[in-house]
């Protein structure tokens, strides 16, 4: 097994924890889609991998909700790139989600203790 299977990831996408990943990564600085996918892959130690066909719909969804904002950046001799940054609203949601997530992880840790982890 290399990494969590993509079906499981897709389910996570639906449920919202993937949003947390994106918002967290964009919180540091604006990034484009390819960079996001590389970062998630690298930082999860190869455990998480976003396919292009689920990553972009997710970005667009967050954008439609007003949590992130994309801007085109043009460089000579290159295709234009779209960089995303977190909006004020997105930052508020992120804070909320981080709290929830921390509480959740803490709760799971307490239940499972050290044995199974």
């Amino acid at each position: 097994m290399t990494g969590i299977d993509t079906r499981a990831l897709d389910r996570e996408l639906k449920r919202g924890s993937a949003e947390l990943l994106i918002l967290s990564l964009l919180d540091a600085r604006p990034r484009h889609g390819y960079e996001l996918s590389k970062l998630i892959h690298a930082r999860s130690g190869g455990q998480l991998r976003f396919h292009l066909d689920s990553l972009y719909p997710l970005l667009y969804r967050l954008e439609e909700r007003g949590w992130i904002k994309g801007t085109w950046v043009e460089k000579p001799d290159e295709r234009r790139r779209r960089f995303y940054k977190v909006t004020a609203e997105g930052r508020r949601v992120l804070a909320q989600q981080r709290r929830t997530w921390a509480a959740f992880v803490e709760a799971v840790r307490r239940v499972t203790g050290d044995e199974g982890a």
Partner: protein
């Protein structure tokens, strides 16, 4: 660097993105793929491998479009703000239809199943409608046909429904509401001289008839008042077909001469090929001279039609005729005549109207059942898209917008079904024209024309709307709960089963009703086959009509001797077993009746003496037909020539007067006429079903040819031989006849079997049509049951798994589904029986030898339907019971 544009664009094609947005996404994703490609190349991959691996970012099943679909931007091309200007309606509709077509194109199995089912239903409906329209509804092929009326009388005592010189001339001289009134009478004439003599159908008309129909001849002229005057030279108008056949369409035909019934007649004109006159198919049209000055007695024998003055109503015309009836001579008063002016078209239709409407209703039912099936398929599909609808609703699509999208899909399907249906109907009408009974008038008018196409179009749209509506009612307004369910468990809602179950019950009920009706027709057909028609082995009997017009042989004695010579000559043709002749063959439609008086049997006072059918006959008739002698004997030729006072009657008549047929022998009867001589009954013969197998036997009096009361010179010949139908046989018979007299015309050559088939034609036609309708209904209905059970089984796979994991046996599972299927079927059967009981009363008129509530038919049909339904339930039930609990449970994880 590969160009990713088309790869990306294809995957976005099912979405309704604005052009700008689509370009942005294509750019963005292409950039991503570029990055990935470069990275792979840097890692040592070949360009081909790199491109392939990069595109591996797209998973199969177009996950991208799936994830994009719920987004607002994926719908920007169809802004549906509530209260948006109405101007968008049409373009929205077009968009809906296009989107629907695209969606359906991607589901070929679903779409083709639906289209085929609908095509069956719509095609059958269109085919029968084309018959109903061609026969019943299409206007007559005359100028302003709505002003043409048939002028008749209601006659409570039976005499006087049509016309004789008195009524006709009185009307012609006194009418106020008609533009003109004309007489007509179909008949047959013998045409001799130049080629084989032939007996052809003819139409007698008064001078006014063709002009009031606005018929223009293609050659020459129509009759003038002068041609109509008694004593003027005979003139004849040819119909187009006869002109082509007899004169090969010669342009100089006008002025030529034909010998008609022994009289020379001058051809004065040719009618156009479009000329069709009601139910007649004449070859020649002859004038109908009526002597205005002749004494006017009470007689009736021809028909009249009129063209109403503009603006005159039927009621006014009837009032006018009522006034004219009072102008008739006093002797007419006891007939009790009342006016009966009705549209001319009604005369053409006769009694086939009812059976055609029943057939149309039957195929309408098939269409309903088909719609039921499609509605079920459609519901299943809509369920699968529940989440999509919920999402679209949440994103702002209005309820009506969603409903329209659903309806658009159903209408697109129905239109496709209609298109295939028209093709089916075209094939079917061709078939119908060949199997239609002779009684069906205007068969040539049946076909797929603009009206039928428009009808089919409306039926398609309507049925699309009908089955689409089920889905709209169920799914047209999904709420937020559907979203919370994550689009997964919505399918377990109880209402879903209810709708589908109701549909299946309705289908079973309708299929059962149709099957019962067609079952009753089958029983009728069987009952008719078992009736003794008064003849045996009809396939061995050749019949034809031989007229000896007075113009050919004037002396009746000589005419009778000629008939005898012909009969004897025919008997010598090799292979001929026997020859007989009679004024009419069983079931050939001839109907000549009068009353008789039996010696010693008093006529009840004040009671109308019943009419008996009169036939004139000669030796050999009963033997040739295969009718049995119940008592006594037949007659011999010497009794005819010597005019012996003998007579033969049918068994029914003998029983009516003397209970026992043998007691009739030696009794005397005579025609109900002053001074008519008594005749001794020498024989009683078996009954003939002269009015058809589904009517009681006819009481018949057989007069020897050459009698004082029933003179008849045109005789129908019956020739029994095992050679009937073999090549050359008829030619030998023709030669035998002409060896006696070269000028004798043969007409109506047909086998007795053909006559019998024609008399059963209406029943067999109805039987075949209803049989087809019922079979289609049954198949579609059973497929419906199968579909519901099979679908329920797949939906409940997990539940079955749990049950079986908890110890349920496969038998239990099977029983569970069988119970469900059978309870649906049983409900449908009970409902269907109820509907059938209500409907079959209408059918009574078409039934024979079986009641409209015949328990055997009801039981047999219900049992057959239950059996088929059981099978349709058993198959999916068995599959469900074989579910492996482990697999079933895993399916949900």
């Amino acid at each position: 660097m590969p160009d990713w544009t088309s790869e990306v664009r294809t995957r976005l094609s099912s979405l309704r993105l604005s052009a700008t947005r689509e370009a942005e996404i294509v750019d963005e994703l292409s950039q991503h793929l570029d990055d990935r490609y470069r990275e792979l190349i840097a890692g040592g991959a070949s360009p081909d491998d790199a491109a392939r691996l990069a595109l591996g970012e797209f998973r199969s099943g177009n996950v991208l479009a799936q994830y994009m679909a719920p987004l607002r931007q994926a719908h920007t091309m169809a802004p549906s703000t509530p209260g948006a200007p109405a101007g968008h309606l049409l373009s929205d509709l077009w968009q809906d239809l296009r989107y629907a077509t695209r969606t359906l194109w991607k589901r070929p199995a679903f779409a083709s199943a639906t289209v085929l089912t609908l095509a069956l239903g719509i095609g059958a409906t269109a085919a029968i409608f084309s018959v109903v329209y061609g026969v019943l509804l299409k206007p007559l092929p005359f100028h302003e046909p709505e002003r043409l009326v048939s002028v008749r009388q209601h006659a409570p005592h039976g005499a006087g429904t049509n016309h004789g010189p008195t009524t006709y001339l009185t009307y012609r001289e006194n009418h106020r509401t008609f533009e003109a009134i004309g007489a007509w009478d179909p008949t047959e004439v013998s045409i001799t001289g130049g080629g084989d003599p032939e007996r052809v159908p003819a139409l007698l008309v008064s001078a006014a008839t063709l002009p009031l129909l606005r018929v223009q001849p293609v050659l020459g002229r129509v009759f003038s008042a002068e041609d109509d005057t008694p004593g003027s030279p005979l003139r004849v108008i040819l119909t187009y077909g006869y002109w082509q056949r007899r004169f090969s369409g010669a342009a100089d035909v006008v002025g030529q001469s034909l010998v008609i019934d022994g009289r020379p007649g001058e051809v004065i004109g040719v009618l156009p090929s479009s000329f069709k006159f009601l139910r007649t198919r004449p070859d020649v049209v002859l004038p109908m001279p009526l002597d205005v000055n002749a004494p006017r007695g009470i007689s009736f024998g021809f028909q009249a039609l009129a063209r109403l003055k503009p603006g005159v109503t039927l009621a006014q015309a009837n009032a006018d005729v009522e006034r004219m009836i009072s102008l008739l001579p006093p002797a007419f008063a006891r007939l009790g005549l009342r006016p009966n002016v009705r549209p001319l078209a009604d005369d053409v239709i006769g009694n086939v109207g009812e059976i055609l409407w029943i057939l149309l209703a039957a195929v309408g039912v098939v269409l309903l059942i088909a719609c039921g099936n499609v509605a079920n398929l459609f519901l299943v599909r809509a369920e699968g898209r529940h989440h999509e609808f919920a999402m679209r609703a949440a994103l702002g699509a209005s309820r009506s917008r969603l409903a329209r999208a659903l309806l658009a899909e159903s209408v697109v399907l129905a239109l496709a079904g209609g298109a295939v249906g028209v093709a089916l109907a075209r094939a079917a009408t061709g078939l119908l024209r060949t199997i239609a009974p002779a009684e069906l008038p205007r068969v040539d008018d049946i076909g797929i024309d603009v009206t039928v196409l428009l009808f089919t179009l409306s039926v398609s749209v309507l049925s699309g709307g009908l089955f689409g509506l089920f889905a709209v009612v169920r799914f047209g307004s999904p709420g937020i709960p559907a979203l919370k369910e994550g689009g997964r468990s919505a399918s377990d809602a109880p209402g879903r089963h209810r709708t589908r179950n109701v549909l299946v019950v309705g289908q079973v009920a309708l299929a059962l009703t149709l099957s019962i009706v067609s079952g009753l027709m089958i029983r009728t057909f069987i009952a008719m086959r078992q009736v003794d028609p008064g003849f045996t082995r009809p396939e061995e009997v050749q019949t034809f009509v031989l007229a000896i017009p007075p113009g050919l042989i004037s002396d009746p004695q000589e005419a009778a001797r000629t008939h005898q010579r012909v009969a004897e000559r025919l008997a010598r043709v090799p292979g001929v077993a026997s020859v007989g002749l009679s004024s009419s063959i069983t079931m050939d439609g001839e109907d000549n009746g009068n009353a008789i008086e039996a010696e010693g049997v008093p006529v009840p006072e004040g009671e109308k003496t019943p009419l008996r059918r009169f036939k004139s006959f000669a030796p050999g008739y009963f033997e040739t037909m295969g009718n049995r002698l119940v008592a006594g004997r037949s007659i011999v030729w010497s009794e005819i020539h010597e005019r012996r006072p003998v007579i033969v009657i049918s068994e029914t008549l003998a029983r009516e007067y003397w209970k026992d047929p043998s007691r009739a022998i030696g009794k005397r009867v005579r025609a109900m006429q002053r001074g008519a001589p008594w005749r001794e009954i020498v024989g009683v013969v078996g009954d003939e079903r002269d009015d058809g197998l589904n009517h009681p036997p006819t009481a018949i009096v057989y007069w020897p040819m050459l009698n004082e009361n029933y003179r008849w010179r045109t005789m129908a010949y019956a020739v029994r031989s095992t050679r009937v139908g073999t090549p050359g046989f008829q030619r030998e018979l023709d030669q035998a006849v002409w060896s006696v007299d070269r000028n004798l015309p043969l007409a109506n050559v047909q086998t007795l079997e053909a006559i019998q088939a024609r008399s059963m034609a209406q029943t067999s036609f109805a039987l075949v049509m209803l049989g087809i309708a019922a079979s289609v209904a049954l198949v579609i209905g059973v497929v419906g049951i199968y579909g519901v059970i099979a679908y329920a089984a797949t939906q409940r796979t997990r539940e079955i798994g749990v049950r079986m994991a908890l110890g349920a046996q496969s038998g239990d599972v099977r029983r569970m589904f069988l119970r469900q299927g059978l309870s649906l079927t049983a409900t449908g059967i009970v409902l269907g029986i109820g509907v059938a009981v209500g409907l079959t009363r209408v059918m009574s008129a078409f039934l024979f030898g079986v009641g409209p509530m015949d328990p055997t038919t009801y039981a047999a049909v219900s049992a057959a339907l239950a059996a088929v339904a059981l099978l349709a339930t058993y198959l999916p039930a068995r599959r469900a019971s074989r579910v492996d609990p482990i697999v079933a449970l895993r399916a949900d994880i």
